[in-house]
Symmetry: C2
Subunit: 396 residues, 2 copies
């Protein structure tokens, strides 16, 4: 059995990925410091769905599938030696790295949150890379990045998968070409840490020949995968609050409880999306197709479609009769943007995308409806402000 | 009097900068956790020159010049609140940020050193930026970067000052142009942290409109400035060891004690250089010419000339009669490279460069000669290895 570490395997993407891989016959070890649950405590919010403890989750999975998942509570940003020892003991073939603070609004709440996000995310990623080098093992690292590293500008181009061919003029007027990492334009401290992660990957790949795949994921929607819906104890997180809730799932939850769909600004932001079932499938494809010896960092755009936020709001409003409410945008970003995204790498590996369709939207809404009694409406608005200027301007 | 914080003001560039600015009438406060002295303890090495304690240094400066410099021992990567409180109390106009681990070989000694460099440098820079935002003050941040962010490739271009105009092809065959940060190519973990610093500056400048100047400095040579030679208690550090010693000063020190000039590989590496007196002058020019409101990060190349390492070795060998010894290069880098560097920003601000000339080379050699008795020859070779491959290959 192929051994895999899932760092951050208790989170929204990590848990369904761990189950999917276990189901596919991988020997899965979850490493997680449960920071996401602790942040729920800090914010005074709970997942809309009643997630079981990690211990109950693993026990339930073994009862249902007959497969074992091991769990270690390790802070990989801080407990380097414990983490390295575990690698040496278990000798994983692949490490999947989800273990970062992943909410843009949370990263902008205060300087404490900015500093936590930088400290946690960069030390976590560097420690994983250092530990792979120290282990001397030929481990493939799969990292979850974000489409947000590219920014949401409108240069009139389709966003390529990580690398861009550019032309430059030399002093004597000649034109030379070069393939570079797509120039970054992060929109929050969180996104910035992912652009800095890219430089860690660039360096360790160049210096130590590490095999690395970086997945620039769009906004995930949906909550169930084939495995998480097998038993309520396996249910995935559903974040609806202003910090961790993401746009499409938030709209569906708001529709479920009859709360107006809160569109930031004009809703002219175009974003890339992927369903959680496709996300776990992509992780599997990435694991099964590691880079070759001496290959540069493999970068995939893990997104299946793009939509404008106001179009999504209109779609869900029509579907459910719930009205739309435009609120001031707390983010420091362009009101309107285009976005076209190359994603042929995953399509060529056999991904058959689940695109937005009413059946699946309905499923998410029904999940939200079932757990409406767990919703605290006060947690819905986004209260993080990007700049001190916006403090006086934002109405929620 | 204009108030200035010098973070890392006890170090090789920080101390002479603090003195120069104090001499020019600025009100200087040094903040330093003395990590550089502690690293000397760790490595079992001392500055070739007998540097006084920071307390003695400041006392001597007041005796000689009648000017006060204040000193606070604060770890800005860890003691955020103490640091922010000091900013609020003192309200500096400018903060100069030298407070990073700055040796490439040290950053490659072991995973512990890699992790320290990433943790210290990135948290320090992020904390400074956060604190400026939190303070609400209009503070100009001047940061010491490195020419090494550009890498030492040979695209046939003169390296511009931070930004590069590139052309890209859109899907419909049109050509669009864009100004981007020069694509990075770091050669060590240390250099990598400076490329990550650039993204911190990009983000805080965009989101919070911070005024930032980033100085990409070449290799500093020389040891005395006008102020440090006024009294032996003001003397600057002189690092000759394999971790912190830099190439030209190391050659001069080796020549002073009759130790063969150790050239790594063919010595075909071309590097950019600047004399310490020009370095402190550039800091002053940067302070006096802050970015305007809403201006992007100002990037200056702080270097006055480029030389091939073997040409420097030959020059000093001819000057002194000391032989050259070629040793295997511990670094994972190209054996030979060209380097042409744009530096007109500082020239336009009035910098009149001190270039390599025998008088000044002789001065450095004489300083080294004077303190030969403090030299531990065992510390001269560079023992840090860039990759596990080189472990079996490097002979020193």
């Amino acid at each position: 059995m192929r051994k895999i570490f899932v760092l951050g395997g208790d989170g929204f993407c990590g848990w369904p990925s761990a189950l999917h891989l276990s189901n596919k016959g991988f020997d899965v070890t979850i490493i997680d410091n449960l920071s996401r649950r602790n942040i729920d405590n800090e914010l005074g919010v709970m997942s809309l769905t009643p997630i079981a403890t990690i211990q109950e989750r693993i026990k339930a999975w073994e009862e249902i599938s007959g497969k074992k998942i091991e769990f270690y509570n390790i802070d990989i940003a801080k407990e380097y030696t414990v983490f390295l020892d575990l690698i040496l003991k278990k000798t994983p073939e692949t490490i999947i790295h989800f273990a970062e603070q992943r909410a843009a609004p949370y990263s902008m709440k205060s300087s404490k949150h900015k500093r936590y996000t930088v400290d946690n995310n960069l030390n976590a990623t560097n420690n994983v890379l250092c530990a792979i080098v120290d282990s001397g093992l030929d481990i493939h690292l799969v990292h979850l990045g974000t489409m947000g590293v590219y920014g949401y500008g409108t240069a009139g181009m389709k966003i390529p998968e990580g690398y861009l061919e550019v032309f430059m003029k030399t002093e004597d007027g000649k034109e030379v070409s070069s393939e570079i990492l797509y120039p970054v334009n992060p929109g929050s401290i969180y996104h910035m840490t992912k652009t800095q992660d890219q430089l860690l990957f660039l360096y360790y790949n160049k210096n130590d020949k590490l095999k690395i795949t970086d997945l620039h994921q769009g906004i995930v929607w949906g909550t169930h995968t084939a495995e998480t819906k097998l038993d309520e104890r396996l249910i995935n997180r559903f974040d609806y609050d202003g910090d961790y809730g993401t746009v499409l799932n938030r709209f569906l939850m708001q529709a479920a409880i009859g709360y107006p769909l809160t569109v930031h600004g004009t809703g002219g932001q175009t974003r890339a999306f992927i369903h959680i079932q496709d996300s776990v499938k992509c992780i599997e494809l990435a694991i099964k197709n590691p880079p070759k010896e001496n290959e540069k960092v493999k970068i995939f755009n893990q997104a299946t479609e793009t939509h404008r936020v106001r179009d999504l709001a209109n779609l869900i409003s029509e579907m459910t009769g719930v009205e739309i409410q435009n609120v001031k945008n707390p983010r420091n970003e362009d009101a309107e943007n285009e976005l076209r995204v190359e994603n042929k790498n995953f399509l060529e590996l056999g991904l058959n995308p689940i695109t937005l369709e009413k059946g699946l939207l309905k499923e998410v809404k029904e999940v939200a409806q079932k757990y409406t009694h767990r919703c605290n409406k006060e947690m819905i608005p986004c209260k993080s402000l990007w700049t001190s200027d916006t403090k006086t301007k934002v109405l929620i």
